[in-house]
Amino acid sequence: MGRARTIARRSFLIGSASILGGVAFGAYFVTRQTPNPLLEGLAEGEAALTPFVKITPQGITLIVPRADVGQGIASTQAMLIAEELDIDPATATLDPGQPHQAYFNGTVAAESLPFPAWENGFVASTVRELMGNVARLTSSQFTGGSSSVADLHETLRMAGATARETLKAAAAFRTGVPRADLRTENGQVILPDGTGIPYTDLAAQAAAIKPVTDVTLRPASEWTRLGKPYQRLDIVAKSTGTQDFGIDVVLPGMLHATVRANPGRGGGMAGYNADAALTMQGVRSVVEVNEGLAVIADNTWFAFQAAQALEVDWLPPEYPASSAEMWQALINARTDAFRNSRLRDDGDVEAALADATVIEAEYRSPFLAHAALEPLSATVLVEAERVQIWTATQIPAVVRDAAVELTGVDPSRVTVHALPAGGSFGRRLDHDYVVHAIQIAATMPGTPIKTTWSREEDMTHDFPRPLHLAVGRGAVGNGRVLAYDLDSISPSLVSSWFGRIFIVPPGPDTLLVWGAFDQPYAIPNYRVTGYAAPPMMPIGSWRSPGACSNSFFHESFLSELIHAAGADPLEERLRLIADADSRRVLEAVGEMSNWNGADIGPGRGRGIAFAHTHGVPVAEVIDVTMTDRGIRIDEVWIAADCGTVFDPVNAEAQLTGAAIFGLGHAMNCELTYENHAVQQTNFHTFEGMRLHQTPLFHTRLLERSEQVRGLGEPATAPAAPALADAIFAATGQRLREMPFSRSVEFA
């Protein structure tokens, strides 16, 4: 039972403040206790038993530091603490807390390493642990990479258990009853005679004693909340219009602003004329911000109107002007000079291809916007020696640091009020919109100003998913796939995004080939090479970055080879995969869909794809029908294994939502460029999936994997190749370029 031992070993490192212990790297730093941010500012009678639990005579506050962008993680974090703390989380206040080292994220740092997630050998796990410690030392607190549950599930349960046992110790101290004779229930310590002492009554006592740290986690068999269907804590607010999002902040005396930036991202401004805008109703001022101008006005509508009236002489940015030129730049980058990685090189691909009839195909994946339904927004109040920021962000520590840099205030004088986001899909892993809002508010100290981007601005100034090109070469024989060689070419997402937000990690750009090099296939001659094309416009993380394109390339080309070999797409995948978790999801999806080949009758087709991303193997089967109005997706079956499922109702929503995201964009969406500018600026030309295109879903979570992982992203990647495969089965047409609406009609 390696797992139980790991927990026990860690438990002694978990005290009132130390969250996760490390052992190997920089030990004298790493094992030093991480300070507990809640200890500052506690009043008499209040206790911060861990960085995640604060108890006052008035109530219990749970700190849920990972940002809720729709994935439901606020609830899941609270449930994880509540399970051990024995409280009804609906009675607690949830607070995202302030950015702090105690809330760092080690999982994503570990996953940016050049090891496949299913590879758990000694080297891979040691290096992952080291990276986790580096992340902790650099305070990289962020929400992303489907990492929150993987990263925090033990930490939060430990926090709940530590707090519970400390409260029991406080009750023992007060009553003289030994701690072992006490139990807890529903926010109370229960004495042997059945009397209950509310936690809130014990806060002062608990704060005065040494926290109990020798706690062990309850086994899953004893859970009363986790793993059972439960309501998201935000579901009533989100069904009654009472949930405030980042864009909904209202402060007394607040003004409104919007931004008009260079449509060519990163290009400068030769000059501007704001005279007309300044005479418009309700306009207060026009100020310069990064990449352009902002209008401050009495309301958002006045600001939007005036922003349109600005006359600006934009300078062109450095990247190619049109999509055609950008594709050409990718084609040109498929040379040794741009080679960035070869993280998979099994057998002898060159030799295998030299003796065979080579099958070759080129695939393309377009730029895509994040286009969360809530446009980007932030509200900022700059005062003497103090800055407050209200916004939805996945990187609160970066936001705080930006405020320090822009205004010169001390970091301790910056407050980040993190609010729920109306979607993100990776966009809020950047903070350019908050920088604008700080720059704007800094021109009017003392006045809170809400900056809202128009939808057009939001789409024009996205950090889009990069365009991505791949060339597959392969060979088959005796009904088997014998050789597989994939070249994957894109500008480097790691240098662009990490460069803006943190630091560019050394080594190859693993995201460039994520979803391709790290798939658990044992093809005898198997090679994946990444080429980093020259940088274009700044690009960003988009729901399962890298993998959202690479999985389409990798699985589609594999399907082409399997078809050429005359093998069954499901059976050949099973023959090629040894990893037990991966095999099980393939077998499950076959059983769920009654798999019996791709042919399901005239005018119809069935496709399959598999992807192992974010540590989660996912297999999807899709059925389509040709109708007189176009192709209709009828049904989708999804099997996945993320290990233990804490929140089953939400887990199902994440699987279907992620698949819908993958399908809708694969069908309908692309960003194209002309004169350096995005041509799709609103939802009329960038729709994603709508209700009438939504198929019937069937999902299954196996819970057999040893690793606990998150589900915000994994079902996205295999959706596009499964759909392309189904369309091939129905029409004989192999779609190698997204969006598929370039080639076929959808009903």
Partner: protein, 152 residues
């Protein structure tokens, strides 16, 4: 200008051509009405005027022709409307940003068609974008609300 919203009279001093959306959000701080696109493509700004679902980003203030209902006018956390109860029962919301508009659109549909088919739901609700992809549960919740409302 006078507006009746959820049965209460309000006065706003804003230009005639300003979209109702912004009068509600910024003029009256009624932020349950959401901005998503401004061009009638997403449905996040949906309200009822005179009982009919409309896109408030497309209605000039001067053209408001009747009583306005926002999601708060349908029901509140303590007194849920049947449709909201179905939305909760089916755990529809992910980010939730589109859901006020979805629920108001569903309420318009069910007022006209108490027993909608999947096709009816598709036709009535496809103008309401959900970027999180909550559509399967929206369908289920509309059906559940329809049968609950028929039982009353």
């Amino acid at each position: 200008m006078n507006l009746t919203i959820n049965g209460t009279d309000h006065t706003v001093d804003l230009p005639d051509d300003m979209p109702l959306l912004w009068a509600l959000r910024d003029g009256l701080n009624m932020t349950s009405v959401k901005y998503g696109c401004g061009i009638a493509q997403c449905g996040a700004c949906t309200v009822h005027i005179g009982g009919e679902a409309v896109r408030s980003c497309q209605v000039a203030l001067a053209d408001v022709w009747g009583e306005i209902t926002t999601i708060e006018g349908l029901g509140t956390p303590d007194a849920l409307h049947t449709i909201q109860a179905a939305w909760i029962e089916h755990q529809v919301a992910q980010c939730g940003y589109c859901q006020s508009g979805q629920i108001l659109q569903a309420s318009d549909l069910l007022a006209r068609n108490p027993q909608p088919t999947d096709e009816d739901i598709d036709a009535a609700m496809s103008g309401n974008l959900c970027r999180c992809g909550t559509y399967p549960r929206i369908r289920a919740a509309v059906h559940a609300a329809a049968s609950a409302m028929r039982e009353v």
